[in-house]
């Protein structure tokens, strides 16, 4: 049985990590340069912090704005998906599985049968 994965979306996955949650708190109320964000995490390498920022940006949770040679990050509240987008994605995933299941039931040996059956054969 497939594991229903539609309940978890990208934004929630992005905040599953404690460092990324800490970054979000930093950029919640103001734009913060990448360097200043990294300075808050002395135990984490710069590339690792950049990677976390990339995950947050990919999930649409932070916005990035270049400012000279700096990059400024800020929480992007409109990145949160609305209910319609959630439902749209859910139906599209689920209906694809319904299609597979119904076709498997109706044509359990579809490929083999299609090869063997004469095209004019009818079922009674």
């Amino acid at each position: 049985m497939p594991v229903p994965a539609t309940m978890i979306d990208g934004s929630l996955r992005a905040v599953a990590d404690p460092t990324r949650r800490a970054i979000l708190r930093l950029v919640r109320d103001r734009e913060v340069p990448a360097g200043e964000i990294a300075a808050h995490f002395p135990a984490i390498s710069r590339p690792a912090v950049s990677q976390h920022l990339r995950v947050l940006a990919d999930a649409g949770l932070v916005a990035v704005r270049p400012d000279g040679n700096r990059r400024l990050y800020r929480w992007r509240r409109e990145g949160l998906r609305d209910a319609a987008a959630f439902v749209e994605e859910m139906w599209s995933d689920r209906l694809a599985l319904l299609k597979q299941a119904a076709e498997r039931e109706e044509w359990p040996t579809r490929t083999r049968a299609a090869r063997r059956r004469a095209p004019t054969e009818t079922e009674t």
């Binding site: 905040v15 708190r25 409109e78 949160l80 209910a83 689920r94 209906l95 599985l97 299941a101 039931e105």
Partner: protein, 144 residues
Amino acid sequence: MSDVEPSVVEQTVRIHARPETVWRYWTDPARMCDWWGAAADLDPQPGGTCVVEMGGGGVMRGQYVELVPHERIVFTFGWDPHADAPDIAPGSTVVEVTLTADGDDTILALRHTGLPPAAAAEHRAGWSHFLALLAAVTREDTTA
């Protein structure tokens, strides 16, 4: 005619199976669990229960409204409150599924109406539980 109007989701899928087969995937609990939930409690008659439990703990709670065998199913749709599901109260939205035979295939058309508009959803769905999640995390992080 603005942002406050409820959203509609519409999808159509062609299935290489007869409508009566597809129908069973909306009315038979075992088959419902082949594609949607981890468990289902279905009583396919008008007013009957249509509850689908997701593996992660979310529960879709609805009621069948209309059933025309092999042709049309209408049910209400909502989630029990859950961190990972949007805030859509049971009874607040409606799903209409229409099955139309086309040769050996079925055209399944789904229309989900009454969804909270994007503007409201920012407060009601993602935003509110996102903030709740962050608040919880903040508390957790500062209790040291």
